[in-house]
Amino acid sequence: MNKIWWKILGSVLVVYSTIAGFLAPVPKLPILHETIRNLYFHVPMWFAMIVLFTISVVNSVKVLRSNKPVDDLKAVESVNTGIVFGILGIVTGAIWAKFTWGQYWSFDVKQNFAAISLLLYFAYLVLRNAIDEEQKRAKISAIYNIFAYPMMVVLLFVLPRLQDSLHPGNGGNPGFNSYDLDSRMRMVFYPACLGWIIIGYWIYTLLFRLRAIDNNSAI
């Protein structure tokens, strides 16, 4: 994966989706108006986060199977990158909420559970830093991570759907794709998601390579 083509692809997609995100036509919607364009910026943050956390949990399973320290480093660095995207997602969501729902934080189920799932991963990093012995740290944090991942999925995709929520896609509130996300918006939205996922993966590989060099020089 050290080839350069996918990095260029990710950059092109992100640049395209940003320009088209501001300029391409969008459907006229009440309340949302032009803020519907946030769909191209706010939502891909979460997709990037979920992909990075998925990479992390796969590597955590690998740690338990192989006991290689490399897999542990991959797991922790993908969580580090994923958390940054998660924070960006929650902050942009709060700003979007201020101008459409009326408040930055209206204690909507989606907002609350998204915050809790970020806290889950903060706990992962705290737990990891609390253990000094390397083998033990790799194992315990891998087990925690394997439990945290399904919790995150449930918190973000299952529980909000069972309650009333202002957020699209939850609690009898249909997602954008059912009627708002017309084909014009899909032409920007899907490239935006793919582009941000690739950029997230790129940053994760940078962090991992950095950490790997650091670990090798320490030995």
Partner: protein, 70 residues
Amino acid sequence: MKKFTTTLLLVLAAVQLFAQTADAPEGLYASDRIYVVVIVAGIILLGLIAFLFSIDRRLKKIEKKSSGKN
């Protein structure tokens, strides 16, 4: 008199049009809230740039360590 009242009514009806511009959305609600999107995109850029700085700081530490060794 009839003509006068109709004219007056029509003029009054036109006044409503001015009234509408008076409470036009202001600040970030103006221009169909496009500035909200500007702020959101700006925050993402700022966040990622801050993240770049933190990566840079980590790299610097490693560089210092390896240069001290040689």
